[in-house]
């Protein structure tokens, strides 16, 4: 913790970065994003198990970008997000400084995408056993059982798009739901519109999502949409042996192909 505060002070004092994006104390013992531009504010930085938000979401926010070069307190999913954003030409090398915190609590500054790649490669980036087990639970359900489950879930969706807003990879300046010629996704939050929105969201994140979980944490009504992302993460890995957010330069898995891709469902 102290090392993190000191690092932030040092970076701001030395004008290495203009802003440090980190975690501060939030309501009810939670944590929240804070944007430190004055070394003195660094005292308010916190870093603990409650720090779950993927702060990379702010890299895509114009109001934050205009503050200048940022140092970003980065949990593993944040690092992978940065690499995925780089692979999608959204951040360049040296655009930002990632501040990873290792198991020992030491701050590891990662100045280049290359450094981030190396750091990420050393982490366990698989779905956890618990996550796989939960997926299993749903996969082993009957088709109709699954349909009913999701219908009930999506019937509560408000279309508040908190899942989209919280996702650092949903950075389009015009989301497909905002196209009205044609109106790809119905605007109202009725069952059909909600289903189509959630299918589209999952498809657009296929091969891109780094499983940070912010979409689900953001959902005010608690729809477990992370299941969809994790399902597709598993499918993409199983079928194409690809994991997103591991490299800063990679052809996106869904815009490339292998001649020997699965074929058995095609007549």
């Amino acid at each position: 913790m102290e090392t993190l505060k000191n690092k932030a002070r040092e970076l701001l004092a030395a004008k290495t970065v203009q802003v440090v994006i980190g975690y501060g104390r939030g309501s009810g013992g939670s944590s929240r994003a804070m944007f430190i531009r004055d070394p003195r504010q660094a005292d308010d930085l916190v870093f603990d198990g409650a720090c779950l938000q993927n702060l990379a979401v702010y890299l895509m926010k114009p109001e934050v970008r205009k503050l200048g070069k940022a140092a970003l307190v980065a949990i593993p999913s944040t690092l992978r997000t940065i690499l995925q954003l780089a692979a999608e030409n959204q951040v360049g090398d040296h655009d930002l400084l990632a501040l990873a915190v290792n198991a020992a609590g030491a701050v590891v500054p990662l100045a280049t995408l290359n450094a981030i790649e190396t750091h990420v490669a050393a982490l366990d980036n698989n779905l956890s056993a618990a996550e796989k087990e939960e997926l299993q639970k749903y996969e082993s359900m009957g088709l109709d059982q699954r349909r009913q489950f999701w219908e009930e879930q999506f019937s509560r969706c408000l279309k508040c798009y908190a899942c989209r807003a919280a996702c650092p990879l949903c950075y389009c300046s015009r989301c497909t739901v905002e196209c009205n010629q044609p109106q790809w996704i119905p605007v109202p939050a009725h069952d059909l519109g909600n289903l189509e929105w959630n299918i589209m969201r999952a498809m657009h994140l296929a091969g891109r999502c780094v499983n940070c979980g912010d979409c689900s944490r953001a959902c005010p009504v608690g729809i477990p949409i992370y299941l969809l992302n994790q399902k597709l993460i598993g499918e993409v890995f199983a079928n194409f042996n690809f994991r997103s957010g591991m490299a800063a330069k990679t052809d996106n898995v869904m815009s490339t192909f292998k001649p020997n891709d699965l074929e058995d469902f095609i007549r």
């Binding site: 589209m200 597709l232 192909f257």
Partner: protein, 144 residues
């Protein structure tokens, strides 16, 4: 469900399957009139959203068909499409949406017979499955 006439939409590429379906016609082979074709330049052009729109608007089944691997007029459009379908099918299934409602296939410009066979077997299959109420019932739900 013998008196049930399913609505089936076929999304096909212009160069292989559309031409193949033309050949079915010029060869005067017969098939079920429940299937209507929408023409695309390439299977690579077919947006998964269009499949959802077809279901939402009452399609009981969908055929998506294009050039065989390595025959794509644009060399790789069908490969890109295939990869998209792999993921799309997995997602639909996970959501409890019956992927048997979508028949993917490769039909070349020379396979007029295959097209007729594909349409008939798909129509029979969908007839057995019955109307896609599982999806169509969503229409109107959630509106006070």
């Amino acid at each position: 469900m013998s008196d049930f006439n399913p609505k089936i939409v076929a999304f096909v590429c212009n160069w292989c399957t559309y031409a193949g379906a033309d050949l079915t016609g010029t060869s005067r082979m017969k098939y079920s009139p429940q299937v209507s074709i929408i023409r695309f330049p390439c299977t690579g052009r077919i947006d998964f959203m269009l499949l959802l729109k077809a279901f939402a608007n009452g399609a009981d089944g969908i055929i998506v068909s294009g050039c065989h691997p390595n025959d794509c007029h644009y060399s790789s459009g069908n490969f890109h499409a295939r990869r998209r379908w792999i993921i799309f099918r997995a997602l639909l299934d996970f959501l409890g949406i019956d992927v048997r409602r979508v028949q993917f296939s490769w039909v070349s410009a020379a396979e007029g017979a295959k097209w007729a066979e594909l349409v008939n077997s798909t129509a029979d299959h969908i007839r057995q499955l019955g109307p896609f109420s599982g999806y169509q019932r969503l229409r109107g739900l959630g509106v006070e």
